[in-house]
Symmetry: C2
Subunit: 327 residues, 2 copies
């Protein structure tokens, strides 16, 4: 199949690599990237949308190529100053160039612009591809908090922002619960709904099923659109050989009762032929061949291919394979 | 005389050099520096107090020693980014380190802190001298706007923020009027009133009489306190040989009907023995000896000494001379 219009569900670092692969696979298609905004955070008065920023920087060749997030040629004067002012938090590394993005966003928020409008304004700098659109999943405000075991707390547990759990505590504390504050009021934007309705192909990227893809699916309107579309909906596993290539999904999946395997995540998304399921096909890595039986028994056709995103071309290859498999 | 407690009225760059001289002259005195806040400005959502910041950076050895304002070892990543985002204004140079100060201030403003409280919080980093206090003249909000000749405007005139006039237009347009928005509601803080009341010596620094010292004097409570204090009030000319050493007073004095001479500025401040006057003595530079007759004829004793602030010691010398002269 040669898709004309593709909708992609994605988080940040892995999501942006995946999107580069989608573009490499289908150079002429329109691509609407529906990006998670549930790990947004306000620090030092600055509104920060980590996944949106990573997506823009990565697609605009402004990303730090070694870290995979943050800006290339970054300077760190402001963090040093905040430390000298003894202003907390200091655990969230904000580079000076990155802060410029947050300053622009924060001003636009204050001026009443929506997240969609702000992302479009920032994208005029980063996205030169006229057929590539970066869309926040919602204009509502969602913040993910994680409840962890804390032996020092009187209750034995403590809630913190997801970014604090991930960046400050390196996802080490045991997770008891994940709370997405605001998700019940979050509605897909008109742009997202239109992207899902008009797409002739929908790809669910290998991003974190709990804190990236999960919130997108929980945004009002997304799951019904995925279940109703005549397009094929194909999911790609971010769990390879029993652990995530990037991030901390292995620390979060158990808290929502999902095993850390490519098979369990596929069954978690589910086939469109079952209630609530969203996928027509599931793609797992070569190392996870043993998982196929379980997923297919649950009614979800599953393809096994090498899933490492070592280059846009390598990513394009497995994306095309998945699409052909599902057609 | 050996003062125990000194109140200084001051602006930014020249004011901070003057204060270093005051400390060098009187190592054991308590010094309360009452700083102009009428050229404060909000840019990129950041609350900026140029005179306060210059004072803190200068007294804390954090200032760019060449420019006399801004931070030492400054980086400029954010300005470069804002330019790439095509976000205006770009004429006000904001270094990354400097922006950290504005971020901290902006957050404290949002949290409801007063300008006095914020300055004290920032000063904990910069001012190690326990007997030196930096006080904004008011917790009210004052912004200076300048009305200039603009042949391209339909009315032939245009109003702009003082910082735009000074930094962007280098004080070149002809000034028709100066409007201090908010000055009628600006009241001296309790700390300023107490500093003026408790001082046994008051020094009016050689800062701009129109946009630095002028707004301090126009702040409700300041002029009556200066007229009522039993302490000597001594003024120092910033006009040397017919022009300011720093800044753009020569572009502004004509707009308030004051000649650009050390004598005219002295008469503008006036002797405390005349209605509204604030000074017991006026100190002018050696080059301005011819001005003395006119000022003394107006009832204000005037001393002639070299006024160049080439070092804290040189500044201390003319300050001590002025104080002895007035005693």
């Amino acid at each position: 199949m040669n898709p004309r219009r593709i909708a992609v569900l994605a988080g940040g670092v892995g999501g942006s690599r995946f999107v580069r692969g989608v573009r490499a696979a289908y150079p002429d298609a329109r691509i609407d990237v529906i990006v998670n905004t549930a790990d947004d955070v306000t620090l030092h008065g600055l509104r920060i949308c980590p996944d949106i920023d990573t997506m823009l920087y990565a697609l605009g060749d402004g990303i730090d190529p070694d870290k995979g997030w943050g800006r290339a040629d970054e300077t760190w004067s402001i963090m040093a100053e905040l430390k000298d002012y003894r202003v907390e938090p200091t655990w969230f590394a904000l580079g000076d160039r990155d802060i410029a993005t947050h300053l622009v966003r924060t001003q636009l928020v204050a001026a009443g612009a929506t997240s969609t409008e702000i992302t479009a304004a920032l994208a005029t700098r980063w996205i030169t591809d006229p057929a590539l659109h970066v869309l926040p999943m919602t204009d509502g405000r969602v913040e993910t908090h994680v409840v962890v075991v804390d032996p020092d707390a009187p209750s034995g547990r403590r809630a913190m922002h997801f970014q604090e759990f991930w960046v400050r505590h390196h996802a080490e504390p045991e997770v008891l619960d994940i709370v997405q504050v605001g998700i019940d009021d979050a509605t897909a934007t008109q742009e997202v709904s239109e992207a899902l309705t008009a797409a002739d192909l929908v790809l669910v990227g290998p991003s974190n099923p709990v804190v990236s893809i999960g919130p997108i699916l929980a945004t009002r309107g997304v799951r019904p659109a995925l279940r109703a579309t005549p397009a094929r909906v194909i999911g790609f596993s971010g769990i390879l050989g029993g652990s995530p290539v990037l991030g901390m999904a292995h620390r979060l999946l158990p808290a929502i009762g999902v095993e850390v395997t490519a098979g369990a995540v596929g069954r978690h998304y589910g086939t469109r032929r079952s209630p609530g399921g969203i996928l027509d096909a599931w793609v797992v890595d070569s190392r996870d061949e043993a998982e196929v039986v379980g997923v297919e028994r649950a009614g979800l056709p599953t393809l096994v291919v090498p899933l490492l995103m070592t280059s846009p071309e390598a990513t394009a290859e497995f994306i095309r394979a998945g699409v052909e498999f599902a057609s």
